[in-house]
């Protein structure tokens, strides 16, 4: 929180805590998106990963939570930085790396290799 504008925009994007992101609270305020639709898309992304890596149901659930958390982080960071498209995309890029690392930690070595082949970043 470096400036009044950033304080404001942080407030808009959520509280900034590290709990599981309450998407229903966070995203509608920023994007006017119905939370159920967003949650469905998050689940679809996790399903995409689960299908590609043959994940069990519990790992798929954790992946969905990780994606949801990463999305909330992106919103917070993007709002904190600016609405300039370059900054938003930089926030998405950073969020994606953090998400990939979190997901990689859930995977066994064989799936981690497949995840990397899929496009996931498994190490810094």
């Amino acid at each position: 929180m470096r400036t009044p504008a950033m304080i404001l925009l942080l407030l808009l994007a959520g509280c900034g805590d590290d709990a599981s992101p309450p998407l229903a609270q966070v995203t509608p305020a920023v994007t006017a998106a119905p939370a159920d639709e967003l949650d469905a898309q998050v689940a679809a992304e996790a399903r995409l990963l689960a299908d590609a890596l043959d994940l069990d149901a519990e790992t798929e659930r954790q992946a969905a939570l990780a994606i949801a958390r990463a999305w909330a982080d992106v919103l917070r960071e993007a709002s904190e930085e600016a609405r300039d498209p370059e900054d938003v995309h930089a926030a998405i890029e950073r969020g994606q790396v953090a998400l990939d690392l979190e997901l990689a930690a859930l995977l066994d070595p064989e799936r981690r290799a497949r995840f990397e082949d899929l496009g996931g970043r498994v190490g810094r």
């Binding site: 504008a5 925009l9 898309q41 990963l49 990463a70 300039d84 370059e86």
Partner: protein, 625 residues
């Protein structure tokens, strides 16, 4: 007794003439514009009469058009005469032109009045202002016709749904509200309510469409400033959309496409000098896309030729720096380019503007994606497009971010088959969940619309348009899923921004079948001027009685609202013909730019052609529109 009887006979018709209802032919003279003729209508009102008058001036305007003057007024019966009071606006949005300048004396409308009297069939009177100066000298003759009322002012303010938190913003910008420029507005209820508004102005639209050779002035004193203002309006309303598109397109080839490079530029009309804009890479890609849509809609070979010419400039922008890490913002023949542009060592004789960035890359990739869609298989430019797209993805940092890799990588993969770029494309396409969420939610268009300007939404529109054709002619399942998300995002973006009339976004959203998008695209294109305005004038909507500054500064994350007056913005978004000239109308507004100028620079019309041809290709605009 005989005299009394005679008097009764004479007066009897006049006693009945107190019913002025009906249509009257009008002839007269105006000390400024000369003789005129037309018609007036009189209807009963709750108190008195509702009077309208439309006359056409006999002396043509310098461009050959007929000046038509229309007003609505209030009538009262005074004795056996009809007294008419008319309030004519003395200011609208232009504050300086042709040696005239608007000032405090123009704030109030000019009240002109006449007492028309005579017989049952003919009445006459002189319209004078409060000082007694003659404004018009009318003779009205009753007719048997029933004319509709003449055109009147048709304006409304549509409220925008709020996308910013009012209470929080009002607290945050308390210091901003102390600036002297804000003081006239802070106490106004609309300022405190912070509901932003879109002005929709259809004054004279139907009349001007029916009489494209007339210049209609409604409820205004018809001085040179008013003629300019109404000329701008008429330049929007007098043409059908296809006529505007033809005009903009002809201008492009005649004045804006530089033959040796294919590069777009503005025309400095006084010296007829070609001026390349610093954002040309973006404009160039939009131009190529516009012509690809045109080819899709019409199969016109000229459209394909324009795609080819436009693509060549995009290729030059990638090649000019001679360094695969970079690309240019614009290129120009070195003999005419500004001295401070770099001279290309890779392409002798070419100069280029350095600093290709995210925004400019949107143009290059959009142009490439669009050209790939319409160039026939085996066309030599396809290999060149593929090679440049590949080079950008593999070497240029900005092309490796965001959705650039997705769009450029797809083109490069299909056109080169290169395994390195194919691998990058596959990975980005397969695993980018956060980018996909951002896309589905509208690429940022719905967020904080009161303060975020339109440059971002314009770039987002390019992104939507590119991704909704991801995969080219044979998209796989994943590519189709990206397309689906783009269409969802388009729907969300359009729904959020609709009230503020995002014409270009609407045209692209029409591809996705977004409800209402085609209507908005058509309406907004109706408001765009042809030709684009040039001349000498200054406009400032602050003279509009309804004007109010927004309580929020534009782009607050720039953190300069206390020192940069350019961050001040209006609570009202004005029609596009009132916003002067722009190198890209779709980045203008909705609330910034309430003051500015018109000068001798006329920019190229790729922006307007893009919305038109996208709308045509999407089926939202018909060839007859």
């Amino acid at each position: 007794v005989r005299r009394a009887l005679l008097l009764m006979i004479l007066v009897a018709p006049l006693a009945g003439a107190q019913d002025f209802t009906g249509t009257w032919d009008v002839v007269g003279t105006d000390p400024t514009v000369g003789a005129y003729a037309g018609a007036a209508t009189v209807e009963r009102a709750a108190t008195g009469w509702r009077v309208t008058r439309l006359v056409r001036v006999a002396r043509p305007l310098p461009d050959g058009r007929t000046l038509a003057l229309s007003w609505h007024g209030a009538g009262q019966t005074v004795g056996n005469a009809l007294r008419v009071d008319v309030d004519l606006r003395q200011q609208d949005f232009v504050v300086e032109h042709a040696g005239l300048r608007r000032g405090p004396q123009h704030r109030a409308p000019l009240r002109v009045s006449a007492t028309l009297s005579g017989t049952l069939t003919t009445i006459a009177g002189r319209f004078v202002d409060a000082a007694g100066a003659l404004v018009a000298d009318d003779v009205w003759t009753r007719t048997g016709r029933v004319d509709p009322p003449s055109p009147g002012v048709e304006r409304r303010l549509d409220p925008l749904p709020s996308s910013s938190p009012r209470a929080l913003f009002m607290r945050l910008f308390q210091s901003y509200h102390t600036l002297p420029a804000l003081q006239p507005y802070v106490s106004r209820p609309e300022f405190q309510a912070a509901v932003h508004l879109q002005r929709v102005d259809t004054t004279g639209r139907d009349y001007t469409r029916a009489h494209p050779d007339h210049l209609l002035v409604v409820q205004k004193v018809a001085d040179d400033i008013a003629l300019l203002e109404e000329g701008l309006r008429a330049s929007a309303f007098r043409w059908r959309l296809h006529e505007k598109a033809r005009g903009w397109g002809e201008e492009m080839l005649r004045d804006h496409v530089e033959a040796s490079t294919g590069m777009l530029g503005g025309l400095e009309t006084s010296a007829r000098r070609h001026v390349v804009h610093g954002d040309s890479a973006l404009h160039q890609g939009v131009w190529v896309a516009s012509q690809a849509y045109r080819f899709q809609a019409t199969s016109d070979p000229q459209a394909l030729a324009n795609v080819e010419s436009g693509v060549r400039a995009l290729l030059l922008m990638v090649d000019a720096p001679g360094n695969p890490d970079e690309f240019a913002r614009a290129v120009e023949d070195a003999s005419t380019a500004p001295a401070n542009w770099a001279r290309s060592t890779a392409i002798p004789g070419l100069a280029y503007l350095q600093g290709g960035n995210n925004d400019m890359l949107h143009g290059i990739e959009y142009g490439f994606v669009s050209a790939e869609r319409v160039l026939p298989a085996g066309h030599p430019l396809l290999a060149e497009i593929g090679a440049r797209a590949r080079s950008l993805v593999l070497h240029c940092k900005v092309a490796q971010r965001g959705k650039h890799t997705l769009l450029l990588g797809g083109v490069a993969t299909r056109l080169t088959g290169d395994p390195a770029v194919r691998d990058r494309y596959r990975k980005v396409m397969t695993w980018s969940p956060l980018e996909r969420l951002w896309l589905m939610l509208g690429e940022g268009v719905p967020i904080l619309q009161e303060v975020n300007g339109r440059s971002g939404p314009h770039l987002a529109t390019c992104t939507f348009a590119g991704i909704r054709v991801l995969g080219g002619a044979r998209p796989n399942l994943l590519e189709r899923s990206w397309r689906w998300l783009a269409d969802r995002g388009l729907g969300r973006a359009f729904a959020a921004a609709r009230a503020c009339r995002p014409g270009n976004l609407a045209a692209v959203a029409a591809f996705a079948g977004v409800p209402g998008a085609g209507d908005v695209a058509r309406d907004v294109l109706t408001e765009l001027p042809f030709p684009r305005p040039t001349g000498t004038a200054r406009y400032d909507h602050e003279i509009d009685p309804e004007f109010c500054l927004s309580p929020y500064p534009a782009l607050p994350w720039k953190l300069d609202w206390m020192r940069d007056p350019g961050r001040q913005q209006s609570l009202i978004s004005y029609p596009l013909w009132e916003l002067g000239e722009s190198d890209n109308y779709w980045k203008e507004g909705p609330f910034a730019g309430f003051r500015g100028g018109i000068n001798s620079m006329r920019w190229s019309s790729q922006d307007l052609l893009h919305a038109y041809w996208a709308g045509r290709a999407a089926g939202a605009i018909t060839p007859a529109d």
